[in-house]
Each structure stands twice: as C-alpha cells, then as structure tokens.
C-alpha cells in the first residue's frame, strides 16, 4: 500500500471512530473537489452543495466501509457521483438550471483577461455539456480530478477498458468541438 493510501486509511479509521478533528481534516482536504465535480454534473450550485453535504454525511456515517483500495478522494467522488445522479433522476427536466457561475474564485483582476478566460471557459463547458454523459464524467474525473482509469471505472461502475474507450472518444469529440468553435 502506498504512503498516500496508508495515510487515507488512517484518516478514515479515525473518522470512523468518531474523531471530529479527523473529519474536519477530511472535509477541508476534499470539499473543493466534491463541490466542483457535483457542480459540473448538476449544473446547479445549490444542488451541488446539497450533494456535497450528503457526501460528507455519508462519509461520516460510513467511514468504516472505506477499504483503501483507492484514494479517499475517489471514494468520496463515488458517493458524490451517486448522490448527484440520484438527484438528477428525481429532478424534473424543466427545473434544471445552469447557475454555476456564481461564487467562482476570480482568475484575474484585469477585465479583458477576465472576459477572455470566461469566454474560453464557457466554450469548454459547452463542449463538455454536448458530450454524452458518460464521456463527460470520464473526462472530468480523469482530467479535472486527476484520477486513474481504474478509479474512474469504479466510480462509473464500468470496466477499465470501457473507461479508456470513453476517454478516447470523449477527448476526440472535445477536441473536434473546440477546434470547430475556435474563432
């Protein structure tokens, strides 16, 4: 077992014994990743925050189930992924709103740079949203969250080969979409 996995195992063991400081450490380490991923999936800031809360509540209640086969962040992302999918299934299509632009960390203080980055970001987001859900999820988990294919496979409930295929098709489609839309 790698040092990082061993550290995660120890941290989750402390959480499962009711150690509140360990839970605070876990949440401060991974809350940003969970909120980011949930926002990409739900396209709603408030839904993403509810998903994040549910994720950490489940983590607090089920920390003893963490088996240290993958990093803690992958385990948390699995919970968040399932919570977000549940939420999307229950939500009527018409009520899905895109409101994830609020409360973002500013990238630049210069308006021109800010506009340019916003434009680039909007194009990438639009290209991602145009992809089939599975391809989008595989790309986000791999290229934004930095997970390896076996970890992505576990989260998506598919084989590693299926993840590689999703990634290959998703990357190509993303590249094609962004190239076409380039000014």
């Amino acid at each position: 077992m790698s040092d990082a996995l061993e550290a995660d195992r120890k941290l989750l063991a402390r959480v499962s014994s009711g150690d509140q400081a360990a839970f605070a450490e876990l949440s401060s380490k991974h809350l940003g990743a969970i909120v980011t991923y949930a926002t990409r999936l739900t396209k709603s800031r408030s839904d993403a925050e509810d998903v994040a809360q549910e994720t950490f509540l489940r983590a607090w209640q089920n920390a003893h189930r963490y088996e240290a086969r993958s990093p803690a962040v992958a385990w948390l992302l699995t919970i968040a992924h399932n919570a977000a999918i549940d939420r999307l299934r229950k939500k009527p299509l018409a009520s899905l709103e895109v409101d994830d632009a609020r409360d973002r960390a500013p990238d630049s203080t210069k308006p021109s740079e800010l506009l340019e980055k916003k434009d680039e970001r909007a194009r990438v987001e639009a290209a991602l949203d145009a992809l089939p859900e599975r391809q989008k999820e595989a790309l986000l988990l791999t290229h934004e969250q930095g997970l390896r294919p076996p970890e992505v496979a576990e989260i998506l409930g598919v084989t590693v080969e299926a993840v590689e295929s999703l990634l290959s098709r998703g990357r190509r489609a993303l590249r094609q979409a962004l190239s076409e839309k380039s000014p």
């Binding site: 940003g32 980011t36 809360q53 209640q61 409360d103 390896r148 290959s168 590249r175």
Partner: protein, 107 residues
Amino acid sequence: MNEPLTNELDEDDARFADDALSMLAPVPPSEALVARIRAIPGEHPRARVIEVVFRRSSMVALAAAALLGLLTGGLVDLDLTTTSEPSALDLPYGFDWTNGDLEGLDP
C-alpha cells in the same frame, strides 16, 4: 495523471483535454456549506449507534407486539367464554341455531 497510452494520437488528444479542462475554474465551497459540513458530527454524533439502537428497538417492539397479540388473543378467548349468550357447546343437540331463536334455553 493518465495510464501510458499506446497511440500517439490518443496522447495528443489527452494533452489537449488536460489543457482544455485546466481552463475550468474550480468551484470553491461557500462559507455556508463549510459551516454545514462542519456541523455534521455535532448533528449526527452517534449516527451508527442510533441506527443500531433503532434496529434493536424495532425488534423489541415487534416482539412486544407479538406478545401482546398472544395475550390479547387469550383475553378474547376468555371474553368469549363469559358472554351472556350461550355458546355452541351449550346448545342442545340438533338445535337449529340458524334461525337465531334462543328463547327457552337455559342460561
């Protein structure tokens, strides 16, 4: 970040995807969310214990209900024996009790 890729085109696509997704800004949690997460251990201090206690108390409640059912059944039986009307066992042999006429019978 990624497993080694065999195909050069795939590698190129992977680098492109890395660059593209790096443009997306991470979404920071709001202060309200941080506070909500921080409150979880306080609001659910004994979540697993409560769950176990609930399961156990459900089993106790089921057992109590079953016991009560047995007792109630017994009481109903007792109640039937103390009815003011005669039971089938008290009726004379050959009595037609479908007409409901119980007059003239000894109590």
